[in-house]
């Protein structure tokens, strides 16, 4: 009897707990369901975008990760091969290692530099009065307006003596015979960096200009009274902290573009470039995806790139949030 009682005593709280939990869950689900019903119209409004977004952005990422574990060539049904693709990438593909090296060099140089350029020019332009400001905004933004304006650089760095760079250098007596700019492995990377920097004043630049214009003007006057003595102090203590959201957004944009440099390399240095000197992760991806149709392997490259981009972005976001705190 006594034993029985103790069992019951012990059991009841446990059962109670589950009962309560279940009840709570049910209530919560019901509550959520009611909320959803109440917001029916909002779901209808969000639906067209979210459906397309799922089909063309979310699903592709998942499919890409799935394909990366298979051997897929667009014709046969993909078969599962585990981590083979990833092993091959790092252990058996020397060209991929070159691509990683080039991508990192390009990203480490053009990423931060283009970010600083975007901010620096936006800041300087913001100091100017209206007509000049609009004019310079157009001048700086123009290179990224047109999809393939960078092809102009192909004429400039053309390798015969009619190329502008060659003819000027020869005219000035620096060189005696034309330099093969886009075939010489030691010039390809610097040229790609220059062209990428030229292209880099894009969306983030516009975002910074806009951000600068919304900084509360009275803060500057208050700052001047509080002893801010020059423009640099003003920049550091007032402007930068007020523009944090734009700074974060700009960082995301610059990181993503600097890690996916490919079309300028394909158009300027050729595909494949001489000794793979201009080969990047994305051109490697293009090689396997659109030329060799090794989709499984290409998906492994794409998935890797996906994680690298997300990871870099999250780290930089964390660092930038700390600035000014």
């Amino acid at each position: 009897m006594a034993v029985n009682e103790s069992v019951v005593m012990k059991k009841t709280p446990v059962r109670d707990f589950f009962k309560k939990f279940w009840e709570k869950r049910k209530k919560k689900t019901k509550h959520t369901w009611q909320l959803m019903k109440k917001n029916k119209e909002k779901y209808v409004m969000v639906a067209p975008f979210m459906i397309l977004f799922s089909v063309f952005t979310v699903l592709p990422v998942l499919i890409s990760i799935f394909f990366s574990f298979t051997n897929f060539n667009m014709l046969e049904f993909p078969d599962f091969i585990g981590f083979e693709n990833y092993k091959r990438l790092f252990l058996a593909d020397d060209i991929f290692l070159i691509a990683i090296k080039n991508t990192l060099i390009l990203a480490i140089i053009t990423g931060p530099l283009s970010y600083l350029m975007c901010f620096g020019f936006a800041w300087l332009i913001n100091e100017l009065k209206r007509p000049l400001r609009v004019f310079l905004t157009v001048v700086f933004y123009a290179p990224s307006i047109s999809g393939n304006a960078y092809l102009i650089w192909k004429l400039i760095f053309s390798s015969d003596m009619y190329g502008y760079a060659n003819s000027w250098l020869m005219d000035l007596g620096f060189i005696n015979e034309p330099i093969l700019w886009l075939q010489d492995t030691s010039y390809i990377m610097p040229i790609l960096i220059i062209v990428q920097l030229w292209l880099s004043l894009g969306v983030s630049f516009l975002s910074f200009i806009a951000g600068l214009q919304t900084v509360d003007k009275t803060l500057y006057e208050a700052g001047a009274i509080d002893g801010i003595r020059n423009r640099w102090q003003e920049l550091w203590f007032i402007t930068l902290p007020s523009m944090k959201p734009q700074l974060l957004f700009g960082a995301v944009m610059q990181i993503t573009t600097s890690l996916s440099i490919s079309s300028i390399s394909i158009e300027l240095a050729g595909f494949p470039s001489v000794e793979y000197a201009g080969h990047t992760i994305v051109t490697h991806l293009y090689d396997f995806g659109s030329v060799r149709y090794e989709m499984g392997y290409a998906s492994a490259i794409a998935s890797l790139l996906f994680f690298v981009m997300i990871f870099t972005n999250l780290i930089v976001q964390k660092l930038l949030r700390k600035v000014g705190r």
């Binding site: 959520t32 990422v61 293009y286 794409a302 976001q317």
Partner: protein, 304 residues
């Protein structure tokens, strides 16, 4: 004060007009030498940024003998419009009538831009202004999707579009454009700044969410959708259709023009004319809506 009685310092200031002016009319925290240094710096990089464009403009108006002049000159000596005449001649002789390419590009650009603006603003309003189950997750997903580029999703996108049977149609270009997360992100961040009181008072008067969106939010968010129009116009205007559109008669203008340009050295002048032609339209669109753009991009940031 008369210009001639100013000190050198004041003259420079009057010319450069750098800096913010406080309510008292005095400039805050700006030294003249700093102004001069920064002005030259801006000018230098302005030239770097502009000179390939100056180059294209000049080349487009050069006669053939000037293009192959050695050493080449940057500025045109005897401007002609012959390159443009050649461009239009080649256009009218091409296999597919050029009006078809122009129609394709106009169709893709107009439908793509307006569709994208409508769909993303429609979704941005509830996400910006209301809290409902799933809204936070959706916003977060969109922020994450800004963090990787289209290269990542290229292959599966091709598979999906071909499985949906959309290959070789306008839709293969249009549908992915409609779901641009950058567009939704810009719209959402702009709409967050619209006062909630406005929406609540509309609700009190019995307005539905869609009515509020159409009659209150959209007029207020004009700068935001003007920005989006510029960004989408730019990318669609230059679209070549890539591997998604392979029928010649559905190919857009930039493809047709690149075919003209591909015929070698003899067409160098035409290439310049073509580039100028492709550049001039988006730049004009940009300049026209420039003043509005600036306002929107202010709200483009990622909030803590």
């Amino acid at each position: 004060m008369d210009f001639e009685y100013m000190t050198l310092r004041q003259k420079i200031r009057r010319i450069l007009r750098f800096g913010k002016v406080g309510s008292s009319g005095k400039r805050l925290n700006r030294s003249v030498w700093g102004d001069i240094f920064l002005f030259f710096f801006l000018g230098l990089f302005g030239l770097f940024s502009a000179w390939p464009l100056i180059f294209v403009i000049n080349n487009a108006f050069k006669p053939l003998n000037e293009i192959f002049l050695f050493p080449p000159k940057l500025f045109v000596q005897n401007p002609t419009t012959s390159n443009f005449r050649d461009m239009f001649n080649l256009m009218s002789n091409s296999w597919i009538p050029f009006s078809r390419y122009i129609f394709n590009t106009l169709f893709i650009t107009l439908i793509g831009t307006s569709g994208s603006v409508f769909i993303s603003s429609l979704a941005a309003f509830p996400l910006a202004k209301f809290n409902f189950p799933g809204s936070k997750t959706m916003s977060k997903m969109i922020v994450y999707s800004l963090m990787f580029s289209g290269a990542v999703t290229g292959i599966p996108n091709f598979v999906i579009i071909s499985k949906l049977g959309l290959l070789d149609s306008y839709w293969a270009v249009l549908l992915p454009t409609f779901s641009s997360s950058l567009g939704l992100f810009l719209m959402r961040n702009f709409m967050t700044q619209i006062p909630t009181d406005l929406i609540e008072s509309a609700k009190m008067d019995g307005a539905s969410d869609f009515y509020t969106y159409l009659h209150i939010i959209m007029p207020l968010a004009k700068p935001a959708w003007l920005t989006l129009i510029i960004l989408q116009f730019q990318s669609l205007w230059g679209a070549t259709g890539g591997s998604f559109i392979y029928s010649e008669k559905l190919k857009p203008l930039s493809y047709g023009l690149s075919q003209i340009a591909n015929a070698g050295v003899a067409r160098t002048g035409v290439v310049a004319a073509v580039s100028l032609f492709m550049l001039i339209v988006p730049i004009s669109v940009f300049i026209i809506s420039q003043s509005q753009v600036i306002e929107t991009m202010a709200s483009s940031g990622i909030k803590d």
